[in-house]
């Protein structure tokens, strides 16, 4: 009995101990629970919210680009897509097989769908086919009961109604590359596109808009349970360009056969009405991705279809530079307009001989005749008298050698050499013979077709420093620079400008002018002024000159001269300025002037008389204010 009591006492003691221990452990767990649930609760509540809520962005529609009349040149198209949600069908294979009977499905499509289905979770829609047409959509809708798991939705893709004609100016969109990621979270969205070239790139921020967002409750695998809140985004702004779509199309078609570029400006305010470069490319190919073969073809083509020659092609201006030389000489008072200089067909300076394009020479010429007949010897003489630095200064006032502030990326500044430039870059002194060569627009000098068009505009608009631009309005708000008064004068006496304009009218409209064959047809009811230019790609050797091998069409293509023409119209009250360059076209009067004639004729046909572009809103407001007062 005593033994039993001893055992029981030990047992009781120890069990009380065990019980106390258990109470203590439970108490410790309760304390831990208190710490987690009450003391640190806030922190964990935040973490739970982060778990639960997923913020997704809704991409806004990209803004459109239109021409000056509101015709779209870059727009969005509804892209109807068929998607498959694996968890909503019992048999993915059967659904796809039925689908293929209704809408054609390539083996590649099928392989891609199966690959994506394997990779993604079962509730994530996978695109089966996109860019479905209306009839295909209708067939899918009708057969919906036989297509479990298939759903249709609509996305957006970029289209370019103008196609290749606008490619260099409008640019294109493409999926963002690493370098495009500027912190905008929208760029992380699948299917998003950014402007990669041209105006699409220049105005990307405005066109892009701001993404909306939607706060979703998601579960642990990311499935959406419900929508909690939605914030609408801002659609991209429409950008109205200065282009005339019809003129752009015409100009592009006119130069399509050549490696060429053409620019038409409104000379009064610098608006670019057409800017084409040939050959071109299809901008919509970048949306889906360019094949390696296509890319190789573009980049190895010697005619460089991806380069916008109007802003990035560098050419010696040739005789189109002579007006600048003449104005520099007049300003320096080294020649008077009426002074006659003799052309013997060759000018000698020391041992060097400088030839006129006309073998026998032009005889005695004043400035107007020299421009009209494009006499080289006259300009050798007055360039020599003026000096290269004064010529360069005048060229700069006309925008040559300076970066034009055009919106497009990749515009080149070209080169207008000076004595200082040559010493700094080549380490040798300027030679007087080089001044003569530059007097006819050859040598180191390099310009772009856009610069030549701007030069021409400034020659004929009363000497206003208009700058070329492509933007009329962004989101309905007008861009500055719409009227002539916005641009400062460059300080050339009107008498000098009138002389030049008159001489250029003579080039086209008088017998003996280098572009007489390219005067405008009578039905236009206006005349064009201009100046031809022919620049050597390669020096003509003395041996060739003696052999008489001078016909351009006898030379291999890449040795032929570049043909240039700058022009304006109407000649009496100029509104439009243009520049045309045909690479390896031969001569300016034979190859470039006819193209310019046709483009200018079309420009005048489309003139406001018959088709008035809506005035910029700012002008309307200003007019209303005026009338109100």
């Amino acid at each position: 009995m005593r033994r039993e009591q001893g055992r029981r006492a030990v047992f009781t003691r120890r069990m009380l101990l065990v019980g106390a221990g258990q109470v203590a452990i439970m108490g410790a767990m309760g304390a831990r629970l208190y710490q987690l649930q009450v003391v640190e609760s806030e922190r964990y509540k935040t973490l739970a919210e982060e778990n639960r809520i997923s913020v997704r962005l809704i991409p806004p529609p990209r803004g459109r680009l239109t021409d000056r009349f509101g015709e779209p040149i870059a727009a969005n198209r509804q892209n109807w897509r068929a998607m498959l949600v694996a968890e909503r069908t019992d048999d993915v294979g059967a659904t796809l097989a039925t689908f293929a009977e209704i809408v054609p499905l390539t083996e590649a499509d099928r392989a891609r769908v199966e690959r994506e289905l394997r990779r993604r979770r079962r509730f994530v829609p996978v695109v089966v086919r996109d860019h479905l047409d209306w009839e295909e959509m209708a067939r899918l809708e009708v057969n919906a009961p036989d297509l479990p798991g298939i759903m249709t939705d609509v996305g957006q893709s970029r289209i370019y109604p103008g196609g290749e004609a606008f490619a260099h100016v409008v640019g294109y969109v493409a999926p963002p590359a690493e370098a495009d990621l500027d912190g905008d979270p929208m760029l992380e969205l699948p299917g998003i596109r950014v402007g990669r070239a041209g105006l699409e790139r220049a105005h990307d921020q405005a066109l892009r808009g701001r993404a909306g967002s939607v706060r979703l409750e998601v579960n642990a695998v990311g499935r959406v349970i419900r929508e909690l809140a939605r914030e609408e985004g801002t659609p991209g702004q429409d950008v109205t360009t200065t282009l005339d779509a019809g003129l752009q199309q015409f100009a592009a078609a006119r130069i399509a056969e050549e490696s060429a570029a053409a620019v038409v400006l409104d000379a009064r305010n610098g608006e670019v009405m057409a800017m084409v470069s040939s050959p071109s490319f299809d901008p919509s190919l970048f949306d889906t991705g360019v094949s390696a073969a296509q890319w190789r073809e573009w980049t190895t083509n010697p005619r460089a279809p991806l380069i916008n020659k109007a802003i990035a092609g560098l050419y010696a201006p040739g005789s189109t530079f002579k007006m600048v030389v003449a104005l520099a000489a007049l300003e320096a008072r080294v020649v008077s307009p009426g002074e006659r200089i003799f052309c013997a067909g060759v000018t000698e300076l020391g041992d060097a001989r400088f030839h006129c394009w006309k073998r026998g020479g032009h005889g005695w010429l004043d400035m107007r005749e020299a421009i009209k007949q494009s006499c080289d010897c006259y300009f050798y003489e007055i360039a020599k008298r003026t000096g290269i630095d004064r010529i360069a200064a005048m060229a700069n006032r006309f925008g040559l050698g300076l970066q034009p502030p055009i919106e497009l990326p990749g515009a080149r500044a070209g080169l207008i050499p000076t004595r200082a430039w040559k010493r700094a870059t080549q380490g040798v002194a300027w030679q007087q013979g080089e001044t003569l060569v530059h007097g006819i627009g050859q040598g180191f000098i390099q310009t772009t077709p856009l610069q030549l068009a701007v030069m021409t505009a400034r020659l004929v608009n009363g000497g206003r420093a208009v700058e070329p631009h492509l933007t009329r309005a962004i989101g309905g708000v007008p861009a500055p620079g719409g009227s002539a008064g916005d641009w400062p004068l460059i300080g050339i006496p009107e008498a000098h400008l009138r002389l030049i304009r008159d001489a250029m009218a003579g080039v086209v409209n008088e017998r003996g002018g280098t572009a007489y064959a390219s005067r405008l047809p009578a039905e236009i009811g206006a005349e064009m002024g201009g100046k031809t230019g022919t620049t050597q790609v390669r020096r003509i050797t003395m041996a060739e000159r003696e052999r008489g091998l001078r016909r351009q069409q006898d030379l291999p293509y890449e040795w032929r001269h570049h043909a240039l023409f700058v022009g304006f119209a109407p000649s009496q009250d100029p509104v439009y300025a243009c520049a045309v360059i045909i690479e390896h076209g031969g001569g300016g009067s034979a190859a470039a002037a006819p193209v310019a004639r046709d483009i200018m004729a079309e420009t005048l046909r489309r003139d406001p008389a018959r088709r008035q572009a809506p005035p910029r809103p700012a002008l309307q407001v200003a007019a209303a204010e005026r009338s109100g007062r």
């Binding site: 030990v10 065990v18 019980g19 439970m26 609760s41 695998v221």
Partner: protein, 381 residues
Amino acid sequence: MIERRLTRERGMSLAEKLGSVSWSFVVLLGLMAGVGYAMLYSAAGGSPEPWAFRHGLRFGFGVLMMLAIAMVDIRIMLRLAWPLYLLGVGLLVLVALHGEVGKGAQRWLDLGGFQLQPSELMKILLVIALARWFHRASLERVGNPLFLVPPLIATAIPVALVLKQPNLGNALITLMVAGAVFFAAGVRWWKFALVIGAVAVAAPIVYESLHDYQRQRILTFLDPESDPLGAGYHVIQSKIALGAGGMFGRGFLQGTQSQLNFLPEKQTDFIFTMLAEEFGFVGAASVLALNLLVVLYGLAMALACRHQFGRLVAAGITVNFFLYVFVNIAMVMGMIPVGGVPLPLISHGGSAMITVLIGFGVLMSVHVHRAVEIEGEQGEV
């Protein structure tokens, strides 16, 4: 009065036995199962399917089984202690040879639609066997080291088999339950100290022989944030859910962590987390208190028993239950490694529920037969 009557009568009638069942204890268990039903209803997103209804059904069946066992005379259990122990070991061997492989371990025995985890049952059978051994022993005999060798071997065999499955958590619990019986029987403190010291020395060696996933659990326990999307994910999400519950919880069916499936295995291992998220600290602490009450009830039954066999059995079963609760709750709070131990009576899972109720059946049998005279003891009384 009552005790004298019970002592006097060798055979009790069924009505008498039923009358002496601790019905308040049964109500307590029913309360726990009710909590489990509610939580399983919520885990299914507000539906009795697929868990809550079956949970209720199993509990009903389990309670009947528990009461049936409670009616079995404790002396029959004493007599059958060793045969039952051998049956348990046999089942463990069987499961090692033919068991279902689940989650990388052989643990289950499929008995025609009813899955049995013999390692759970084994703990109860081991407790009965050890109690049988110590039942006759005086304190002097218990003090003799040689006397402790047979029960140590009896413990080592099932522990080794469970470890082999491999199921580290259950092996450790089995060891601790056995230890509790040894302790209750009066084995000296310094002997425990000796064993614990030996384990500390052996631990690094054992660690080397662990499976990768077991090592991973231990490593994850030491630093859960090191692998937030891997094994540590469960514990981190569980802690987030607990913390998000706050003082009063997010409301029934409103726990985002559990309803949105951030919480893994919420119907089994992590049901306590779910409860804590939806009912807050108040609800979780109440369930903790409920569990403590069950444990203290068990200890009270042990202390009230007049024979050593019953006392030891009751102590072992109570400690077993306590360890279940402790391991599960400490696990979901990130206090010990994730172990795959359910919360008894609340978690979904047939095998666990049945074995827990079998254990309580034995406990209640002890309570019903607390005053019977056991022959073997008479000489010593």
